[in-house]
Amino acid sequence: MSVLAYGVVAWLFLIGIYGVVTSRNLIHLVVCLSVAQSATDVLLLEIGYRSGGHAPVFVSLPAHPGPAVDAVMQALALTDVVVGAAVTALLLALVVQVHKRAGTLDPDALRATRD
């Protein structure tokens, strides 16, 4: 179970980076970066998980006995999501301007626009 759970993290991260390296379109590149970034969300939630644990929300407890999962990791995952959204938005704004200046979204074609 551990192998599968942590394997997903490594795979998401590496496939995201692979996408960034081989990308032929800047929008695709930004999306690949957020795939790689989502590996950290998955890892945080997995580290905080306890078998049979319930959400760290203590409402109507009699219906949900047992231990709660790690709330600190969930709080960190929230931070990660917000920062990830901010980074993605900023990169996409840069992509808009690159497309206007260079007329292309192919990162390999960009060096021709240098002057």
Partner: protein, 252 residues
């Protein structure tokens, strides 16, 4: 660097990364057996200490409140950066495109689309208010509620047109929501200093556990963060929309 060389370079780097990543992940406690003392303690202590039922909110806005303040500033900084990057450049101008067929009016959206936009838009506003006022009780809070509130404006755009949505989101309103939200966080933090304790201490009355108005500063911080996030995401959408709708190259 050619594509082939780059792929070779990546293969070497990725192998190294995979090995170290694998070794690191293998050293973690096995999945599902997590027993962090800190987390167990917070789960037990937070509802009693802060009168909240959602411990994630208590951590974000109280125990780790300072981190969340910087996180909020990261969002503010990113949105400010986007506004700068997407401003009309020196060879561009802001104007709506000229109507090429003034004798033909734009057909209004179909009644089905309009109805869906009205229903969905008002529902989203309602849900967002529910989400950020109940952040101390159930999953949710300022960040989530703010995003939902901003998406109500996207629905208005889908159901109408650029002119209508521009009327719904005056730049001044969005920018002040953003600024007031971000500075409100600092002001609520300063209340702690005024009360003679540390910055961001929970000094407002805590209220009864399970009531909507509980959690002291956690509840108030959720509100200001909600305003900031809603403003930020609405500005974000407006900036990208302006790029396609009104910002164009100036004629020479």
């Amino acid at each position: 660097m050619s594509r082939r060389a780059r792929l070779m370079f990546f293969a070497v780097a990725a192998t190294g990364l995979a090995v170290t990543l694998g070794a690191g992940l293998a050293g973690l406690p096995s999945f599902g057996s997590q027993t962090s003392t800190y987390a167990a303690m917070l789960n037990k202590v937070a509802p009693l200490q802060r009168h909240v039922t959602d411990v994630v909110s208590a951590i974000n806005f109280d125990y780790r409140g300072l981190d969340t303040m910087f996180e909020e500033f990261i969002l503010l900084g990113a949105v400010a950066g986007i506004s700068v990057v997407l401003r009309p450049l020196s060879d561009e101008t802001r104007q709506l495109p000229a109507d090429k067929a003034p004798e033909r009016s734009i057909p209004p959206p179909s009644p089905a689309v309009w109805l869906l936009a009205v229903v969905l838009g008002s529902l989203l506003v309602l849900i967002s208010l529910e989400t950020f006022t109940h952040g101390t009780l159930t999953p949710g809070g300022g960040f989530q509620g703010g995003v939902v509130l901003a998406s109500a404006l996207y629905v208005v755009y889908l159901g109408t047109n650029y002119r209508t949505v521009a009327r719904f989101q005056p730049a001044l309103l969005l920018e002040s929501a953003d600024g007031v939200g971000a500075s409100g966080y600092v002001f609520i933090g300063l209340l702690g200093l005024l009360a003679g304790t540390a910055f961001l201490s929970n000094v407002i009355g805590l209220g009864g556990t399970g009531n909507m108005l509980s959690g002291g500063t956690i509840w108030a911080l959720n509100l200001v963060v909600g305003a900031e996030v809603a403003g930020s995401f609405a500005i974000l959408a407006a900036e990208f929309l302006d790029q396609t709708a009104v910002i164009r190259t100036r004629r020479r």
